[in-house]
Symmetry: C2
Subunit: 142 residues, 2 copies
DNA sequence: TCCTGTGTACTGGTGTGATAGTACACCGAG
DNA sequence: CTCGGTGTACTATCACACCAGTACACAGGA
């Protein structure tokens, strides 16, 4: 599939998977009715214990994003995109809010903040474009 | 002093203290040569084990923000403000970067992002102003 | 039916954070 | 000097999250 996992990050692996799947649904990379990789398959690809994937899938199931088909696998719910775009918005808003709180507590001015924001935005936009270019050269996907 | 600690947050208590002291130095609320609350005093105020405070102070000492005066307490280093503003900038940039990565991975457009950013900025700026107003009414400080 | 693949449950190890208790070396005031 | 304050060190304990390993129950195809 398309995940990038950081095993040494401060966020748990299962939560990284949950978040990335929600973002993929919000971005319509994963659409309703589509099946996701099985626990063992994804675990093999990412070199992670299947239980960790299973835990992420359970979380996504209780968040009404995935639906289990017993004996067959997990499928994206038809109505998941609404919840995922909503979740995406609150995830982003929360991140921005935390960063802003730190910035203002540290005495950073709004103008400094805007400058930093735009710089990061253009940097990451550019980074995404180059990634897409690389991906189109060879049909790569993880 | 002025700390707000969330014992149930995802970040450790000692790290919250480290971060808030760095931000306070960057904002010149704490200036070079000024002494900080003692381990036992701050532990009493925040209802936290003194060992946790000591751990935060050790971290700040190895980060060259605080300096021990044996038998007297901890003092803010004269040259700490440079490091703290630098640390503040990287903390904020990191937070913004994470939020942007999520937003772009979730298919959010740059314009949506700017809108969200400005909304959060004005909201938190206003929130700070009202806090300052409350603080000036009564000479409160923790 | 048998086999393979699916999700799921249970158990245990490991690392980390927080707390408690105690003890030590140092400084400054009385 | 003595006493109360300071930071520091060390050990032990508890709780919790994360993860690995294994075994189980179920569905579908040969």
């Amino acid at each position: 599939m398309f995940f990038s996992i950081d095993p040494n990050g401060d966020v748990p692996i299962y939560e990284q998977i949950v978040r990335q799947i929600k973002l993929a649904v919000a971005d319509e990379v994963l659409v309703g009715g589509q099946m996701v990789a099985s626990v063992r398959q994804l675990a093999g690809e990412l070199a992670i214990n299947p239980n960790t994937i299973a835990r992420a899938y359970q979380q996504l199931q209780s968040d009404l994003v995935l639906e289990p088909l017993r004996g067959r696998g997990m499928v994206v719910r038809r109505d998941a995109i609404k919840r995922c775009t909503k979740a995406r918005n609150s995830i982003v808003a929360d991140g921005v809010s935390r960063a802003l709180a730190d910035a203002l507590a540290g005495g950073m001015s709004p103008d400094e903040l805007r400058e930093l924001f735009e710089a990061e935005l253009s940097r990451q936009s550019q980074l995404i474009q180059s990634n897409q270019a690389n991906a189109s050269e060879n049909g790569t996907s993880t």
